[in-house]
Every structure is written in C-alpha cells, then in structure tokens.
Amino acid sequence: MSLVWVYAVRDGDADDPPAVSGVDGERPRVVAAGTLGAVVGTVADEGFDEAGLAAAMEDLARLEALARAHHAVVVEAGSAGAVAPVRLATVFRDDEAVVAMLRERADEFEAALDRVRGRREWGVKVYADTRAGGDDSPAPAPGDRPGTAYLLRRKADRDRGAAGRERARAVAESVADAAGTHAVDVRRFALQDARLSGRNEEMVLNATFLVDETQEAEFRAAVTGAGDGATVELTGPWPPFSFATADPP
C-alpha cells in the first residue's frame, strides 16, 4: 500500500512534473483538477503514516531529509510559474482524495496563487552585539570604597546592557523598515538560538519578505545597505512558503 505526499499546488495540468527526487526517493507527479495541479509523490505507507511521520518529526536526521527533499520539489514545482507550497508532512490516502481536496479548496488556492504570482520570498536576519555599549569608559571606582565601586560597576554594566539591547532593537527595526519599503508583505519568525547560528552576536531580527520580482534589485540594495554596523544576512529566493496563507501562520 502507498500514500500520496503533497508538495505544492500550482496552475495548470499534469505536464512537466518536477524532475527531482521526492521525500521517499520517488519521482514527483502532478494530480490535476480544474485549473489546478497538485504536485505529489507516491510514498510508502510505512514511515509516512501518522506514526511514521510523528516519529520522523522527532528524528533530526529524518526531519532534515524530509525538509530538504520537500523544499527541492517545491522549488522545481515553482520554477515555471506561481506555486503555493503545502505544509510539510501533508499526506493523503490516494489521488482521488487529492482531487477532492483541490476541488473543495480551489478558491483558496487561486487566491494564494494570485497573491504570490510574480513574487518571491526573501529572508532577512540581523545579528548584533546586544552587550556592546557606546560608552566603554571604565566604571567610576573610588579606591577607598570597594563595595561602592563594585555596585557602581554592576550598575554601569546593567545600563550598558539595556542600552545595547535597545540599540540592537532599533537596528533590527531599521532593517525591517528598509526591507519593508520594497516588499508587499512580511512575516516574523522567532529569533534563532545563538547555539544554532554559531555566531557570537545575537540574532535581533528574523523576518521574511514577499517581494515583487520587479523590486528585487531595490529590495536587496536596501537590505544590504541597512543595519548600521550590524551583520545583515539575506537568504533566498525562497518559494513563498510563508505567504501561501492570507494570515500569518
């Protein structure tokens, strides 16, 4: 027995399925209904049923393999036109169920495709040293009163910390504003743990923007020119994963 993994929905018929391997090593295909085509793959039920997927979500190696394969197919699926990515780990029993779903939610998919047509998603992350204070003068230290000196030093550290965080927040917002000027929509993700980035600086912005292809040059220039000393990292273009739904996920 097999199951049907859904990658994305796009305009058109069953022609030109993506020419990359899917999550189960399968060759993706297209299930069409009306004006829509769902890019799907036939996967084994073992490993892709509810228990199998739940287990995969707790196994970093398997999750990574699924995520990379899903992403690769969605990229290919959208190489020739608008694509509405489907959430990772969406599996149907058979093609008939996919067709029924396409018919039932056709309006929603048409709206999603209209929203992302001619647009791509770009990630913008900003890293800043939130501890850095502008004033690094030594704490006042009356030599004969070590207790007071200690407390003053602690207070100065605390003040610098608060000022550093405030400055980092301002830098993050200035980059978000600069990027937003050339974007049609934005979503914010949780800031990534410093343990994951391998950087000394702290992430202060983790946002993703939907950008018109005609605005990409301006968008990129605005993002790379912003940040005032902070590290700004641009990723993309991504398929419009974060903008396939009308509301923030």
Partner: protein, 66 residues
C-alpha cells in the same frame, strides 16, 4: 547531527522556519498536526522553538511596558 553552515547550503533552521510554520495547511487523511508532535529531541527543540527575546517582548523587569 549536522547543521548546515549558512554559507554552504541552506541552513536547516532557516528551512524549518518556513516548512514547519508556512505552507498551505490541508487536512489530509494522514496529516499530522505538527503542534501535537512531542518534540523530545533536545537539539530539535532548540531548532524549532528558538529562543526569542527581542521580538516577543521586553525582558521582564525592563520596565518597557506597552
């Protein structure tokens, strides 16, 4: 486990930011709710619920009330 370096290939955490939170949500017969999955793997938990400080709100005690 291998975490991709941002400069070599797509960083896994950037990918998961999008794949676990984005995309059209469909109720397939076998669709699992990612929210219901018990993320027991410590490194995975770190990946998915990355610590958020500035975006979520002021630090407690910073007196930065809205």
């Amino acid at each position: 486990m291998t975490l991709a370096h941002p400069d070599d290939e797509l960083s896994l955490v950037d990918l998961l930011d999008r794949l676990l939170a984005g995309g059209v949500v469909l109720t397939g017969e076998v669709t699992i709710s990612l929210a219901e999955v018990d993320l027991v793997h410590v490194s995975l938990r770190a990946l998915i619920s990355s610590v958020s400080t500035l975006a979520v709100g002021p630090d407690p005690g910073e007196g930065d009330g809205a």
